[in-house]
Symmetry: C2
Subunit: 213 residues, 2 copies
Amino acid sequence: MKFFTMKRIPKAAVARLLNYLRFTEEAEREGEEFITAQDIGEKMGINPHLVRRDFAYLGQFGERGKGYRVKNLKDSLRKIMKLDRIWEAVLVGVGNLGSALLRYPGFLERGFRIRYAFDISPAKVGKKIGGVEILPLKELDRVVQREGIKIGIITVPKESAGEIGEKLCKAGIQGIVNFAPLPLRLPPPIKVINVDLSLNLETVAFYLSQNVG
Amino acid sequence: MKFFTMKRIPKAAVARLLNYLRFTEEAEREGEEFITAQDIGEKMGINPHLVRRDFAYLGQFGERGKGYRVKNLKDSLRKIMKLDRIWEAVLVGVGNLGSALLRYPGFLERGFRIRYAFDISPAKVGKKIGGVEILPLKELDRVVQREGIKIGIITVPKESAGEIGEKLCKAGIQGIVNFAPLPLRLPPPIKVINVDLSLNLETVAFYLSQNVG
DNA sequence: GACTGTGAAGCCATTCACAGCT
DNA sequence: AGCTGTGAATGGCTTCACAGTC
């Protein structure tokens, strides 16, 4: 098995690869030994050629005539996508959405642990939500540096998202998931992903009325 | 002002247009009269040519030499993106994430009202969260049809997401935002958007370690 | 026969270059 | 001069076609 030919992975392929991993894990739960590009393509509604092309970016680990060995594929994908470890994160802004994410068990299930939350309101500081301690915002810098945390989650109102983004940067955070409904932009190499929950509803609404006229 | 030349809008442009709307509203709050493609491009980190191209899909409403009149641009975008109305939705699955979204004020702020929530657990039925009544799953069909609701939000565990997706379809729902961490796929004309919260963290984590090696 | 892996073609999205208006 | 609107060029992603392996 040739390993790590690792050409550059196109931006568009990253999300797909993570989804392939989900279906591969599902196949494992169901006790399958092999999974084919055809299988995955059907489940995701994409062309099987694309699935093979995506896997080819990572090297060759299929078996011609059979497909991809589930166990091997899962391990390779987890390793390549850097999910063979626990990632620690901090969350800033313990409002409605922030509290919700602190209680959301899905992050831990996929290897992301929110170590600390931060909020500007003294009323919230000192409390715990979902087992995560809430600290005052001014300790952000110190804690992030002390713990060497690299990922930040922003759940503050849109007015303060920009400011918090810069604070996180200065503290040494390298990747940010921003839930504030105004896209955040920071200079490379900081990686920002904007997740605007309403935007997804808006997109659906738009396509919906396209069909009608 | 020529209005509604309305060529087909590329898929990739839809999310951008919604974000342009956000920045246009911000400019309005700040009392600006005009906004230029350059302004928007800088804030979003994209090429101003692309901004103009995107607006051109919708017809012509810029003023040469000046830019786009904020009030006009906002109204046009809201109309074209079908956001000049209140959209009603139902939510299925009142677990951690579901409850959170019921309490999240951001949807209503952008014109999306969750009318009812549904859950399979009798313990939850009858309660209200964020002012939204929780009904038993078996009433989904009747309520959706009676109220003519077109948008559904799925926040059930991944095991039941597929099944709920089909139930929503049968009830007459036309657009779905799926928060379960396994991409959902339904036959056209149903529009599904998959929002996998952990996937965003995973993407950030992947890019993060790309830089290091 | 079944499925992977990949060069080449095709397609869509973005960027460039410039004409046109104010 | 400054900015929009758009044909043409570029670039990147997806699909096709087929060679390669089991």
